[in-house]
Symmetry: C2
Subunit: 338 residues, 2 copies
């Protein structure tokens, strides 16, 4: 085993506003032992995701709040060290919701196998995992982009947004991204073929968006909320669709803020706004993963990963999400595949 | 003919905020003469509807703004005086979008026949007209109420809301109305069988709504918007649906106001909010009218009309909509059926 002790990142204080160093605590314990039907998994990659901020509050959200003084939970790609479940054997690569720690014990049914022949294993946390499925179902089921329509996506350079834009392009839409740095804008235009990208940090966001969307907005895939969304919603076309995927701009507010009411815009445009969480589509995950894997294999969807080394740096990687530091899927590398 | 002159109500000033006496002007002209393919219609009932307020602004809405210095347009049930279209003859009852005036000339294809055997002709402007169809399609297509779900409807005593609540009851839902007077509340509970009704003028609207919806809100049919809607949206259940039909509380604001952002509530509940206008469902009007007519004939939907006499009182009837004066469909009686 790579380490004798099991380093673990505990969730020790509910943040008010932006999380910080006091939110987390690194502790050590003994490497756990799997019982019958259980598997010991060594963490290879940890996923850090914006939705986790919601679980840090002690209020109703998609899913239960993280309990205090326990190890943080998140998506993990790992390698089986010891298996007491017939379905897995030592060396297998698996993905599941596990802990922010070097080693986790899980029941076999909580794990899915990762096929390293299909794509690099890290993609099971990104384009071929929850973020990819989130992009696929939100866009296809709620957004329903059509040829020559204008699809706007906020958080465009993130793990979800970058896949949304590419799927929309594959369906013949004109794709306009919203992102926060020149590096991201260059990437989205040059590497992913977005038709236009607007920097939300720029002055005159409203005017720039309007220039980028001369025919209005038919689909707005919303990862960020707040004033960016206010500006997009002013440009809605008749029968527009808004999949609500995230509201990262609001996650760290101590109180929900006010904004222009959206109902009048939705009303006069017969427009639809719908929230979703990827687990709403659980029965169709297989379909989604097949489509995504085909597109990735054919090079029609490219993906970007932003990998930080070391379990101890997971909190910093998480905080970086809210500073817009990641281009593509943010991962933490904890150990090597052996 | 009932009068020699044609009294007409002109739209002469775009209101800022609440319309008033300066918005309208009563003028007189000669009774017009129909040309080939045209029909002279004597107005029997005029419909006054909240959506007309939107057309008084010079801004984008569902439909074009009313032009200044022309006769106001609205729903009319009338009687054919002279027909130069083979499809109609003198004495026929018709419905169409005509002028606020004693006599209108219309092309035959702009008129639909009203069958006085089916129901009182005035219902062609209410439960068997646009308001009834608005209730039917908004609730059935967007709201999709299921047995034992809680359906909340604002503007519950109005022409649309009262039908929404009754259709929801027919589908086995628990129906909670929101209305603004004790008379309306009594009517909704005792005459229409609503399970609970909350007075939005009451203090502690939030608490009263919560008491009235102990199992949360599955469908919110929104006619009013603003703070009433803010209170309902706090109570949404997972997978709730919100048909946006109107925002009467906002129509007379000079500037759109701010309110708590709805996106977080929609997101954590995978909830849907969708604007619509009844004309979105034009291809299905026949289906809707058949269902509504059956329910009315069987006494499963009852309707209420609030009729003011005299064309000259149409502006006052219209203004009354924003003061919550009408219980049921607001109509103006202009002449008798002969």
């Amino acid at each position: 085993m790579a380490t004798e002790a099991n380093r673990q990142i505990y969730f020790v204080q509910r943040p008010k506003g932006m999380p910080d160093q006091h939110t987390f605590e690194l502790r050590k314990s003994a490497v756990p032992k799997p019982g019958p039907g259980e598997v010991l998994v060594r963490t290879v990659y940890l996923s850090v995701d914006p939705y986790m901020r919601g679980r840090m509050n002690d209020t109703k959200s998609y899913i239960e709040p993280f309990p205090l003084n326990e190890v943080l939970q998140g998506g993990v790609v790992g390698q089986v060290e010891v298996s007491k479940d017939d379905r897995f054997q030592e060396g297998d690569l698996v993905v599941g919701m596990l802990g922010w720690q070097d080693y986790s014990v899980a029941k076999g049914e909580e794990l899915s196998r990762v096929d390293p022949q299909l794509a690099p294993p890290s993609t099971a946390l990104g384009v071929l995992g929850m973020p990819g499925l989130t992009a696929y179902f939100g866009l296809m089921d709620i957004g329903q982009p059509k040829k020559r329509e204008t699809v706007v996506v906020s958080g465009a350079a993130g793990a979800v947004g970058s896949v949304v834009g590419q799927i929309a392009k594959l369906h013949g839409a004109r794709v306009v991204g919203i992102a926060g740095s020149e590096e991201k804008i260059r990437f989205l235009k040059e590497e992913l073929g977005f038709d236009a990208v607007v920097n939300y940090m720029a002055e005159n966001l409203k005017d720039k968006l309007k220039q980028a969307c001369p025919d209005g907005v038919d689909v707005y895939f919303d990862n960020v909320g707040g004033e960016v969304s206010d500006a997009v919603i002013r440009l809605l076309n008749k029968h527009a669709r808004i999949p609500l995927c995230g509201q990262i701009s609001l996650y760290n507010l101590e109180k929900p803020d006010d904004g222009p009411r959206v109902q009048p815009s939705l009303l006069i445009n017969s427009a639809l706004m719908k929230g979703f969480i990827v687990s709403d589509y659980q029965p169709r995950f297989k379909e989604g993963l097949q489509r995504l894997a085909e597109w990735v294999a054919q090079g029609q969807i490219v993906y970007q990963e932003n990998i930080i080394d070391g379990l101890e740096n997971a909190p910093q990687a998480f905080l970086g999400l809210f500073k817009g530091e990641n281009l593509g899927k943010q991962l933490v590398k904890v150990s090597d595949i052996q």
